[in-house]
């Protein structure tokens, strides 16, 4: 169910559709807010995450600053979701790459095509 993002009593709250946002990406994003904010992730309903942050030192945050914070959180959630997509989509390739890099040649393949020998080095 769609729910508009909001600021209530100094707490910035964002709602995210669980079909679009991965749980991993939410936690990875919240990790970076853990230094200066109280953070919370919960289920608003069956298919919507409720993500909230509240400044530890809320004296520094007036309403304008809270609006900026909401904007930043919305943007960061998208960024971390994109990062999560790349990570998951390329995980196998990354594993293959590292395995090849540290192998002793057992995973190497010959490059495609044939090596021409116009000079005649091959006897």
């Amino acid at each position: 169910m769609y729910k508009k993002n909001e600021i209530i009593d100094g707490e910035v709250i964002v709602y995210a559709d669980s079909k679009l946002y991965s749980k991993d990406s939410l936690f990875k994003c919240m990790y970076w807010y853990g230094g200066k904010f109280h953070t919370n992730i919960s289920m608003y309903d069956k298919s919507t995450y409720r993500i909230s942050i509240k400044p530890v030192n809320d004296i520094e945050y007036n309403s304008e600053k809270l609006k900026q914070l909401l904007f930043q959180l919305e943007r960061d959630l998208i960024d971390f979701n994109l990062r999560d997509i790349v990570t998951k989509e390329t995980q196998n390739l990354r594993d293959l790459l590292v395995a090849k890099a540290f192998s002793n040649g057992e995973f190497d393949e010959n490059p495609p095509g044939e090596i021409s020998d116009p000079i005649g080095f091959i006897p």
Partner: protein, 493 residues
């Protein structure tokens, strides 16, 4: 039938008709450089700066081969996307990855011998506790020197560096001579290349010592915090000017050993923060080819003294001002580098990594550096033994009486290795600057109480991320600065 060759083919051989989602992603990470630009970095550190929003388009398969020819070509040629599930050039990428991690090939190179804990200076930020008396208690014994050398030559690294530190190392110069001569003999027998360095404040340097250094190819590394009013304030020597002694020592050492065999390091204190220009000028005027702008290490007296403490943001502001002063000299035609930037730039602009133990992943401790303390204890890094001076033995690997395997591959080493790669750390694992940065479990422990660390509140992370971002932004906005930076990382013969 036409014989297949690997020569460049005519354009008619290539499929230019492509559906929107006909490319595959290769592993990469991204970061917002500023409000307009974002940067993508692949697994081997190649990067592209792009207008904000481009990453989303790449991931959503909205980059079209025909309409976005240049971008598409850049993404293919820089290993960000591939037209096949497994790029046919994956072996090339793997070789480049291996090159980036080449420092792992050789294992421990730098062996620090804390030859004496005694010192005649009383610097307020000193990272080790200083003691001035009792030679027997605070100098490394000949027996421990023998054991240290024995362990040092068990390293598989063909190039061994033996570095003498203190306290003030020259207070135990006779022991240095003993160690040098013994190590040289064994190096020759084993066919190893041996470099020797004495870290000294130069107060005790004289012609005889330098004659010996020349005869044995020993390099001199000293401390210089800036102009006299900063250096003397930071580095107190009772009844003398530490600055005058250092300058005389630098001049005498250069005269005897040659310019290139004498280096200096500065440490940034609270006082230094107001004088970035003066500090850079001091190094330039003394004829150094560069300066390493170093923040204070969070160890020893540095943590206890209000004269030393400052916030990372203030250091970053100081750093940027100093960097621009360095660049000013380059704009005037001088080759003069800032060496922290140079380390990052080597990682960013070249296929290679840098043997700098503080910025490696896996971390440089143990596999890059090991410390033999004056009392026979063995520590993972120089900073680890400084913690030990505060009675914290977390990074003590054992003693010189232990076996090589127990020290380097024992339980303690294994515990550290679990968290020594930034590829597997929260916050670092998806950081775009991962390949340019490193892991530092000792720093994490000293500043945050555990080896794993917490990136959002880490000064190590805050400092490195901002400096890397700033260097990339400078290169993006100013082609002349980019050329200067490229000049800094060129191999010079």
């Amino acid at each position: 039938m036409t014989k297949k060759t690997r020569k460049f083919r005519d354009i008619s051989n290539f499929n230019l008709q492509q559906n929107e989602n006909e490319y595959y992603l290769l592993p990469f990470k991204f970061h917002r450089l500023n409000n307009d630009k974002e940067i993508i970095v692949n697994e081997v550190g190649d990067y592209l700066t792009l207008p904000n929003g481009t990453v989303e388009k790449i991931i959503k398969r909205e980059i079209n081969k025909i309409k976005d020819t240049d971008l598409y070509g850049d993404l293919i040629s820089n290993f960000f996307i591939s037209e096949e599930v497994i790029s046919p050039l994956i072996d090339v990428l793997a070789t480049r990855y291996r090159t980036k991690k080449l420092f792992l090939n050789y294992f421990t190179g730098l062996h620090i011998f804390v030859i004496s804990l005694r010192c005649e200076h009383t610097c307020h930020y000193c990272q080790v506790s200083r003691v001035t008396q009792n030679k027997d208690l605070y100098d490394m014994s000949l027996l421990n020197i023998d054991k240290g050398i024995d362990i040092m030559f068990k390293s598989p690294n063909p190039h061994i560096t033996m570095e003498f530190q203190g306290g003030e190392a020259l207070l135990a110069f006779d022991n240095i001579k003993y160690a040098v001569e013994k190590a040289e003999k064994i190096a020759q027998e084993k066919g190893k290349i041996l470099s020797k360095v004495i870290c000294t404040n130069l107060a005790l340097i004289n012609e005889d010592i330098l004659e010996y250094c020349k005869e044995h190819d020993i390099l001199i590394s000293t401390s210089l915090d800036g102009p006299k009013f900063i250096h003397d304030k930071n580095r107190n020597k009772p009844n003398a000017s530490s600055y005058d002694l250092a300058i005389n020592g630098i001049n005498l050492s250069r005269e005897k050993l040659g310019f290139e065999n004498v280096s200096a390091l500065m440490t940034t204190t609270k006082l230094s923060l107001d004088y970035p220009t003066e500090i850079v000028d001091e190094y330039f005027n003394l004829g150094f080819k560069g300066i390493f702008i170093r923040n204070i290490s969070p160890y020893g007296f540095a943590l206890r003294s209000d004269k030393s403490k400052y916030e990372t943001e203030k250091f970053l502001d100081f750093y940027k001002k100093a960097l621009h002063r360095v660049l000013d000299y380059n704009f005037k035609g001088h080759f003069f580098t800032e060496d922290l930037a140079r380390i990052f730039l080597s990682k960013i602009l070249t296929p290679f990594n840098v043997g700098f133990v503080d910025l490696q992943s896996p971390a440089g401790l143990i596999n890059g550096v090991i410390v033999f303390n004056y009392d026979g204890s063995v520590y993972a890094t120089d900073e680890s033994r400084m913690l030990a001076e505060q009675k914290d033995y977390t990074f003590k690997l054992g003693t010189l009486d232990d076996d090589y395997d127990d020290l380097f591959f024992g339980e303690k080493s294994q515990e550290i290795t679990e968290i020594w790669a930034n590829e597997g750390l929260n916050g670092c694992s998806e950081c775009a600057f991962q390949q340019y940065c490193g892991a530092d479990p000792v720093h994490n422990y000293a500043t945050q109480g555990n080896m794993y660390g917490h990136r959002p509140t880490s000064d190590f992370c805050q400092k490195n991320m901002e400096i890397i971002r700033y260097l990339l932004e400078l290169m993006e906005n100013n082609e002349d600065i980019k050329k200067i930076f490229q000049g800094w990382v060129k191999v010079r013969s």
